[in-house]
């Protein structure tokens, strides 16, 4: 039963006590810790810290039944409350518990992409906890805009298990998108706290009442963990407030990161057929050339059968952990936990470049969608960006060239599938 005192900081000038109504149900779903992070080589987190991190997160974000958001997050608590908790409908027909009703069996209570259905899916449902999204209008490292999340909910992700929720009322979609963001921010905070506890807190030598170091039988100093306890440590409170601000900044400034194509370079819709053909031909040349290098991954005929050995960031993190575990011979206090974390993971899957002859575009089939994919790449996956990497930067390809590749990509499904055009020869004289 959760009866903990939750303490956290806000930019509030008064000290107050707020009583929240309601109690947690005895078997209310709980957020799960990001155990791969906790047992990683980068932040091996002792059980005491795991518990303290869970407490701090609980204070800052509440529970799956009773979400909470500090004002610094800018999250709308009413939207979160509509999405959180068990599914029910009030007497006016308003729906609550939307996330558990529609999303949880795939994306999991914590948003770790590990709901009960997830094991059977390929690709796996998104793990929101890194704040990384694939199909968005922004530069590669940037967060998605609200509109991007909204678009994914309306369209679903064709060719994957992610369904369309276009029949849900606007207010419900807004509440769900807000909740997805909330789970991301919470997940990012968890990673930040694990880093903070490991890097900046950690162990210190214990001292007795006289300030003398306490030694063990072998004369080594006895160590103790500096507790992660922002409630009683002002410096920690300040740091955690800073960490939250660092997480929020990219979310709050995402509108400065939207890729807006230059007016002049956007090809008009009603172009003469020969213009389109010329653009497709140019796009084709680029696709097979070394500047765009699309062929190396998407294969000599665009079937997605080029470089298939790689992984997306989510699978890579799990693979790294498993590889590290396999090569471990030393035991420590986390050894048992590592084994059970390893046993809980789903099979690692390769990132397969898209088969571009199918005409199914997961991030949307509009020309602008495909333009964004090629310009920024697909975040979290091997697919690199070919346009400028941030506002004002120099890109590998010009916008005009990217639009030509868009024309070529969109033409690929209409080439006779059984007789795809031969790949252009690679420039072998350069290679020797």
């Amino acid at each position: 039963m959760n009866s903990s005192v939750r303490i956290f900081c806000g930019w509030l000038s008064l000290v107050g006590v707020i009583l929240l109504g309601g109690c947690d149900m005895p078997d209310a779903p709980q957020f799960r810790l990001n155990m791969v992070q906790m047992v990683s080589d980068a932040t091996p987190t002792p059980p005491a810290y795991q518990e303290q991190i869970a407490n701090v997160l609980d204070g800052m974000f509440g529970t799956p039944d009773e979400p909470f958001a500090l004002p610094e997050t800018g999250l709308d608590l009413r939207k979160l409350q509509m999405a959180a908790g068990p599914a029910w409908t009030d007497d006016k027909g308003a729906n609550f518990g939307l996330y558990r009703k529609h999303c949880v069996h795939c994306h999991g209570v914590t948003g770790d992409g590990r709901g009960p259905t997830a094991l059977f899916l390929n690709p796996y449902p998104r793990d929101y906890r890194a704040g990384v999204y694939k199909f968005k209008s922004t530069y590669n490292p940037a967060r998605p805009t609200d509109e991007d999340l909204h678009r994914v909910l309306i369209n679903g992700i064709p060719g994957t298990a992610m369904p369309s929720f276009s029949l849900s009322p606007q207010a419900e979609l807004e509440s769900l998108a807000e909740y997805v963001k909330y789970l991301s921010i919470r997940g990012q905070m968890e990673i930040a706290l694990a880093n903070y506890a490991f890097n900046d807190l950690g162990e210190e030598e214990t001292v007795d009442d006289k300030g003398e170091p306490v030694l063990d039988d072998e004369g080594e100093p006895v160590m103790r963990l500096i507790p992660l306890d922002p409630a009683s440590d002002e410096e920690q409170r300040t740091v955690i407030t800073e960490l939250l601000a660092e997480i929020m900044d990219p979310w709050n400034t995402v509108n400065e990161q939207i890729i807006v194509p230059e007016e002049g370079a956007i090809p008009v819709d009603n172009r003469p057929a020969e213009d389109v053909a010329a653009s497709v031909a140019k796009g084709r040349e680029l696709f097979y050339g070394i500047r765009a290098n699309c062929m190396k991954c998407h294969g000599p005929t665009g079937l997605g059968d080029g470089q298939q050995d790689d992984f997306d960031n989510w699978n890579k993190a799990h693979k790294q952990f498993l590889d590290s575990l396999a090569s471990s011979s030393e035991e420590d206090e986390l050894t048992g936990t590592r084994d059970s974390v390893a046993a809980s993971l789903y099979p690692i899957r390769n990132a397969i470049p898209r088969n571009l002859r199918k005409g199914i575009y997961r991030g949307g089939h509009r020309r602008i969608d495909v333009f964004w994919r090629i310009y920024a790449g697909i975040a979290g996956t091997p697919m690199p960006g070919s346009g400028p990497a941030s506002p004002g930067a120099q890109g590998t390809l010009t916008e005009e060239e990217i639009w030509s590749i868009v024309d070529y990509v969109l033409s690929l499904p209409y080439e006779t599938p059984s007789r795809p055009l031969e790949a252009l020869p690679t420039n072998l004289e350069l290679v020797n």
């Binding site: 000290v15 707020i18 929240l20 947690d24 070394i290 290098n293 470089q307 420590d332 070919s386 990497a389």
Partner: protein
Amino acid sequence: MTHPFRILVATVITITALAQSHAVEWGSIKGKFVLDGAAGEPAAINVNKDAEFCGKHDLKDETIVTGEGNALANVVVFIYAKRGQKLEVHPDYEAAAKTPAKLENKGCRFEPHLLALRTGQPLEVSNSDPGIGHNTNASFVANPGFNEMVTNAAPIVKTLEKPEPVPAPVACNVHPWMKAHVVVREDPYVGISNEKGEFEIKNIPVGQHEFIFWHEGKGNLRDVKLASGKTDRRGRAKLKIEAGKELDLGEIKVTPAALGK
């Protein structure tokens, strides 16, 4: 049954006392890493892309690189600086802070395999493999990552604003065997052991510092014996730098197990 309650506490802005800029004295540190056992021959890379070019370079797995006499290369030694803490920087480092740190795609590997740079210092990633397209995909903890094509024509240039707590992985997804790490710190006090296993960091402000010892194999090197004491469970050791002196850690033995072998 108790109701959970929340206490909102005012955050007090702490004004960090600014370090007085009185005359600072400097010292250095050096040492030599040796692999204490056998790590086996590095595995040959299965070159499955651009084989006609990349296949010519006799590529090997570079996770563990040893030199003559089992000298262990690519161990990173750097000073832990608490969040927000700044170390005094010797004026000799000023010029280098503005020179781009260069990471080259060359012979279908990254050169160097480990690169140290400072926040604000340009990171220049170039491609010297004629007719071969590479992409550079960097994942960071504190900075925004990037994943871009790098052509023969022009390098891509990045500036990282925040220090990274651990060396950050850089990859090429067209040739997934290509791996490097960049060590991004606010200060220049990073040593990377060379083929002889040797590292040296000069002009460190005197005093007790916490040094981190890191290797790509399994991250921070725990319980490694030093001339005096050993690294702790987090792979760190508190060492004293004295004015005008060079602290010599001597030969530092690292077991293959500590590198995941």
